[in-house]
Amino acid sequence: MTAEPSPTLKIHCEDVSKTFIQKGHIGVPVIRDISLDVEENEFLVVLGPGQCGKSTLLRIIAGLETPDTGYVTLDGQPIVGPGPDRGLVFQGYMLFAWETVMGNVEMGLKLRGVPKHERREVAQHYIDLVGLTGFEKHYPHQLSGGMKQRVGIARAYANSPKVMLLDEPFGQLDAQTRMFMQKETARIWEHEKRTVVFVTNNIDEALFLADRIILMEGKLPGRIKREYVIGLPRPRDHAHKDILELRAMITAQTELVL
């Protein structure tokens, strides 16, 4: 790594380690010595099986956890806590059940004191972008899983973060909805480019979306095993021969660690 950071460097993780200490147990090391860079508007996918520390890495970038050693910077500034410059999409949707779709999407703007008519306009833009036009007044329990996560994505986007962090966002969806949501994610990202860190355990999802894939070790503590740059044009086809070739390569690596 050169001393002079690239001008388009967005996120920089330097030797990040984290150990969780549970009551009455010795510490469980979750991730160890993770260093990675994310370029501006890059779509980075962190791929790994369950329990490999990838979600913890994402929570550290979000500022919800602090690393024991190492540090993370965003635009050269160290991350010390959560903030609206990083939008987070949760695996369990985590929508506010008592707010409508509109209320959920505009929440970030509301918390930051944006006047009502202004935040309505911004929120509406993102509701339209994720394809929920007409559902503004619906409550979360009236929506399907895929629609709920669309709200989650719109809510994060509406806060205009520099970075979007997605933590296994489609993990609870059925296979068909999942594929459809991957297409939607690619479409939304093409429409409004952001720096994205996307965590998943699904290799097809990674290959479909990523500019670059970070493959994690399959056991704790999580470490980076390998990196793959996916230079294929979008929209991609799950059955394209280059994709299948990469899939075989990554699968071989994954099976080694399992």
Binding site: L64, P82, L88, M94, F96, A97, W98, L111, R112, H141
Partner: protein, 280 residues
Amino acid sequence: MSSSIANETVGSASVREGRTLWEMLTNTYVLYFVSLAGFFLLWDRVAYLHVFGDSLARPHVVAQKLYMLSQVKFAGTNLAGHIWVSTQRVLIGFGLASVIAVPLGLFMSLNQYANAIVKPIFDLFKPMPPIAWVSISILWFGIGEFSKVFIIAIGTFVPCLLNAYNGIRLIEPELYDVVRVLGGSRKDEIIQVSFPASFPAIFAGLQISLSVAWTCLLAAELMNARDGMGFLIKRGMDTHDPALVLGGMVLIAAMAWLSSLLISLLERKACPWKRSIENL
């Protein structure tokens, strides 16, 4: 609603001839009617045959008794007066308790110091059945209005506080992460997540409290009272008037049901986002 269901039944029955009668007989509303009619017929039969001697009044006698009481004064006031006196006691006791207990429960779950100070005392009193307070409250406050209101307030305090407290403690912690990631403060977490998320639990607590309140009222009025629905039951017992006892019971049940309905309506107003649960 019911008419549309009936139409549907008739419509499908005409298509599948032969099951018509069975489908009509097994219609939910028909079964409701059969169930209730059967109950009242059985009651009437048992009373008519003097299975329990003369201590069970026939349904229409109970109804006549209530009608008569609504026309003439009985122990100083007519039926509406007795109902109102009891309802007032419940409203004041329940109102006082909930106004203090709900905010206290919320505060305890949000502030560990408040929790550490109040919780031990609360845990000490929690297992005490509210009726156990009847005698001591008469010793302390005499047989006036205050001792009755006191018992009701004591009884309703516990479920109100407990539900508000647990309502906040059982919130998914990741919901607070959402507020933090969106740029909110601790205050935002409380206003945007803690309060709205605890609403259903608070209303559940109010419902439980309300049913406890009517129980406490009855206990207090049976013990000593010159008016109210519990007094009617007590007077019926003392003068061996089963129609009056049963009439008082029916009235209390009706009022408890009405007040619970009122809380349900309030909840629907306050939490429009809650999935409506049928047959509440």
